[in-house]
Symmetry: C2
Subunit: 154 residues, 2 copies
């Protein structure tokens, strides 16, 4: 997993340094990235309900599937869905702040953290250790929040 | 993988036979399922570009990540996002036809096919065999189309 994370970091850095997905227009980028995060959030919600709140019975297979889904989003090359014109000073229907494109090292840090913590959640979920899942779920949540706090408008 | 598929089939059947996600309202169900399919479609598009059209260079890591993403959607328990009130005779912003709830065996068939073909694509993607990926990509596409043809309004 460390190797995957390092590679993801390298890819994220490359994606940020090169022209982004020329064939995808800004609206598609916004809609696609929102879809990916919504899919991840739905799966975060399932883990929260089962491993934190206890409002739904813990189901090992569902927890693993949810963790796989979150990791799949984290590793899907989300950085290709961000172009300068897709920030909220130039585009509608997005809360992405323009400083996203002025702080590439910070972006890389939050992106790499998300990938690392999501990959770790996937590993932990496979063990069936509910307490460990709850703990790692919180780490993933923090990595989501770090991006929101830095780059998402209220 | 056969075991996973059989289990998915069983879960799909159970989900169809029981009251669906009481805590999620119809609009959330619609938006969440559309997000999941859009995330899957984005990843299908990457495989198409790299393994079929050749418009983007074949990248083994990206192909695997895309296949993981599609399988994650297929295995995420999508059936919990369908309630009777979420069809297009009762809800807005959806093309889901009401016959979805009148043909549970057909629904189960298309759902199980999607899971099976997506899981197989994930396996094939890991081998790095581009021709096999292209072939299995087509199978997944057929499984998507089977649901659209049966249950999605034009």
């Amino acid at each position: 997993m460390m190797k995957t994370t390092a590679l993801a970091a390298a890819l994220a850095a490359v994606a940020l340094a090169t022209p982004v997905a020329a064939q995808m227009d800004v609206e598609d980028q916004i809609e696609t990235r929102q879809s990916a995060y919504q899919f991840a959030a739905w799966n975060m919600g399932k883990i929260k309900a089962q491993a934190i709140d206890g409002s739904v019975a813990y189901d090992q297979q569902q927890i693993q599937a949810a963790a796989n889904a979150i990791a799949a989003v984290a590793n899907s090359g989300m950085s290709t869905l961000y172009s300068r014109d897709s920030a909220n000073d130039r585009a509608d229907n997005t809360r992405l702040k323009p400083n996203f494109f002025e702080e590439p090292m910070k972006v890389q840090e939050v992106a790499v953290n998300f990938v690392r913590e999501a990959n770790k959640l996937q590993e932990v979920a496979a063990t069936g250790d509910k307490a460990a899942v709850a703990q790692q779920f919180a780490k993933v949540g923090e990595s989501c929040k770090a991006c929101h706090d830095n780059f998402r408008a209220d």
